[in-house]
C-alpha cells in the first residue's frame, strides 16, 4: 500500500465573511525581477499670480513613484532628464517653445517658460529635472515629492486680467548610477523607465489675491488599541497645503473645528464613525507645535509663486466610550484670509 495523504491548505488573513484564501503554492508564482517603472502626477490646481513683475522659480509640486528598484546592495542614485520632445512640445496655450505661451478663455496670451529647479529652460533634451537617491527599501519602491518643474514669467507683459492656461506634455527618462550621484544626463545608465509629465500651468492676472491650490487628505492610518486604550498617532509631515498669494499680500490660514467638536480643549475636534468618536488635534509640528484652534493660524507673505505649509493631525492617547470598527473621518475647513 502507498501512503495516504490528506492535504491541508491554510486560510490566510481575511476580512469577516470574505472568502479570500491564500494557498501555499502562491510563493512559487512570483514573477521574475521587474524592470523599473515610474509615474508622476502634477497638481493642476496650483497657480502663479502675476502682477507684471518678473517671476522665476515658481515650483509646481509633483509626486513621483517608482517600483522595480534593486533591493539591497549599493545605494542607487537617479536623475530625471528631459528627452527630445522638450524642444517641440509647445503646450496647449501657444505655438512656440521659446517662449511658451498660456492662453486665457478670451484668447489672449501670456509668455512664460518652464524651467528645471536649477533654472534651465526646458526646451531641449538631456536637461536634469530632478535627481536624488532611491531609499534602499526592501519593497523595491520609492516615492516622494519632486522639485522638478518651475515656471518663469518675464516682467512687463501687459495683458487683460484673467486666468491663463497651458498644459505641456513632456517625456522624461530616468537614469541611474550605483554608488555615486549623476553629474549630468549623459552619466550613469539609461533605464527603460519613462515618466510622462502632464504639466498644467495656470497664471492669474488680477482677480483675487490668494488662491488655495491643494489641500491634503490627512490619513492617520490604523489605530492600535490595548485594553480599550487607543494609542497615539501622528500624521507624517509630507502632506502639504499649497497656496498662492500675490506678491506682498500677507495671509493667514485658520482651521475650523470640524463637524463634531466637543468642549474647548486643544483636542476638541473629533472624527466620527457611527456613534463612536476619536478626539484629535491639528498643530504646526509633529510635537511641540502651536495648536491650530480658534484664531491660531499660520501666516505668511505672498510671492506670486506657490507656497506650501504642513499641518499635523495627532490622535492623543484616549479611552473612547465605544469603538466601532471602521473608518473614522472628520472634515475641517481651511480659511485663507488676506
Amino acid at each position: 500500500m502507498r501512503p495516504i495523504d490528506l492535504l491541508l491548505a491554510r486560510g490566510g488573513r481575511r476580512l469577516p465573511w470574505i472568502a479570500a484564501i491564500v494557498f501555499l503554492w502562491l510563493g512559487m508564482c512570483q514573477p521574475a525581477a521587474a524592470a523599473i517603472s515610474c509615474s508622476a502626477s502634477m497638481q493642476n490646481s496650483v497657480m502663479v499670480i502675476y502682477n507684471g513683475s518678473d517671476i522665476s522659480g515658481a515650483l509646481l509640486p509633483a509626486r513621483y513613484s517608482c517600483s522595480g528598484l534593486p533591493v539591497g546592495g549599493a545605494t542607487v542614485y537617479w536623475a530625471m532628464c528631459t528627452t527630445s520632445d522638450a524642444a517641440s512640445s509647445t503646450g496647449t496655450g501657444g505655438t512656440s517653445v521659446s517662449p511658451r505661451q498660456a492662453r486665457s478663455p478670451a484668447g489672449d496670451t501670456l509668455n512664460f517658460q518652464l524651467a528645471s529647479n536649477g533654472g534651465q529652460d526646458l526646451t531641449a533634451a538631456a536637461i536634469t529635472l530632478s535627481s536624488g537617491q532611491f531609499a534602499n527599501t526592501s519593497a523595491g519602491t520609492s516615492s516622494g515629492l519632486s522639485n522638478a518643474i518651475t515656471v518663469r514669467v518675464p516682467a512687463s507683459q501687459s495683458v487683460p486680467a484673467g486666468d491663463y492656461y497651458s498644459t505641456v506634455l513632456l517625456t522624461a527618462q530616468i537614469r541611474t548610477k550605483s554608488g555615486s550621484s549623476l553629474s549630468s544626463c549623459t552619466d550613469g545608465t539609461l533605464t527603460n523607465a519613462s515618466v510622462y509629465l502632464n504639466i498644467p500651468v495656470t497664471i492669474r492676472v488680477g482677480g483675487a489675491a490668494c488662491n488655495i491650490g491643494l489641500v491634503p487628505m490627512m490619513v492617520l492610518g490604523k489605530i492600535s488599541v490595548n485594553s480599550g486604550v487607543v494609542g497615539t498617532l501622528t500624521t507624517a509631515g509630507n502632506q502639504n497645503f499649497w497656496i498662492t498669494c500675490a506678491a506682498g499680500t500677507t495671509w493667514t490660514a485658520t482651521f475650523s473645528n470640524g463637524n463634531n467638536p466637543l468642549g474647548t480643549g486643544s483636542d476638541r475636534r473629533r472624527m466620527v464613525n457611527g456613534s463612536s468618536y476619536l478626539n484629535y488635534q491639528l498643530s504646526t509640528a509633529a510635537s511641540g507645535g502651536t495648536s491650530l484652534i480658534d484664531s491660531a493660524g499660520i501666516t505668511g507673505t505672498g510671492t506670486g509663486k506657490p507656497q506650501s505649509f504642513t499641518t499635523y493631525a495627532t490622535l492623543p492617547t484616549q479611552t473612547p466610550a465605544s469603538l466601532t470598527p471602521g473608518l473614522y473621518t472628520d472634515t475641517v475647513i481651511m480659511s485663507l484670509s488676506y
Partner: protein
C-alpha cells in the same frame, strides 16, 4: 496692431479692478479637507502544518488519527471572537468529507472526518462561523487543535489518497 490696441484697452480695465481690490483689501478663500483614521480588527493565521498525513496505511482495522495546530492571533489585543471552518471539497459525498484515490482505475474514495478543539470530538463546520474561539489578550497567538480521523472498516485499494482542505478563520 488691432490686437495691441484691444490689449491695451483691457489692461486699463484690469488696473481699475486691481485698484478697487486694494481698497477693499481683505478677502478669504476656503477649502475643506479630510482627516481619517481606521480601526480594524485584524487576525492572522499561521499553520504549524501544511499537510495532514496519515502515512503509509496497510490496514484499516482501527480508526486512525493525525493532528495539527492552527495558530490564530488578532492584533487589537481585545480577545476577538473567531470561528474556524472548512468548506466541503469537490470530493465530498453529501456532508461526508472524502479523499480521492489518484489511481483513477481504482476510482474509490476514503471517508475522513475533521475534528476541532481540545475535546477532539467536535466536527468542524463546513459553513462560515465566527464563534467558538477567542484570541488571547495582548495580541499573542492561540492554538486551535485539529484532528483528522480515518474511520476503520473502509475498503483499501492501492493508491495515493488526497483531498484539498481550505481552512478559514472568520471574525
Amino acid at each position: 496692431m488691432t490686437s495691441f490696441l484691444r490689449s491695451k484697452a483691457r489692461q486699463a480695465t484690469a488696473l481699475a479692478w486691481a485698484t478697487m481690490s486694494v481698497c477693499s483689501s481683505a478677502g478669504v478663500v476656503t477649502a475643506p479637507f479630510l482627516i481619517t483614521a481606521r480601526y480594524q480588527q485584524t487576525c492572522q493565521v499561521t499553520a504549524s502544518m501544511s499537510t495532514f498525513d496519515f502515512g503509509n496505511v496497510t490496514s484499516n482495522s482501527t480508526t486512525l488519527y493525525t493532528t495539527g495546530t492552527l495558530m490564530v492571533g488578532c492584533d487589537n489585543n481585545s480577545q476577538t471572537p473567531f470561528g474556524v471552518w472548512a468548506p466541503l471539497s469537490a470530493n465530498a459525498n453529501g456532508t461526508q468529507r472524502r479523499m480521492k484515490n489518484n489511481d483513477t482505475s481504482a476510482g474509490n474514495y476514503l471517508n475522513y472526518n475533521l475534528l476541532i478543539g481540545d475535546s477532539g470530538s467536535t466536527t468542524i463546520s463546513s459553513t462560515a462561523t465566527t464563534t467558538g474561539f477567542r484570541s488571547p489578550q495582548g495580541g499573542s497567538f492561540t492554538g486551535v487543535l485539529l484532528r483528522a480521523q480515518l474511520p476503520a472498516g473502509q475498503t483499501l485499494k492501492q493508491g495515493y489518497y488526497s483531498d484539498d482542505l481550505i481552512l478559514t478563520v472568520s471574525y
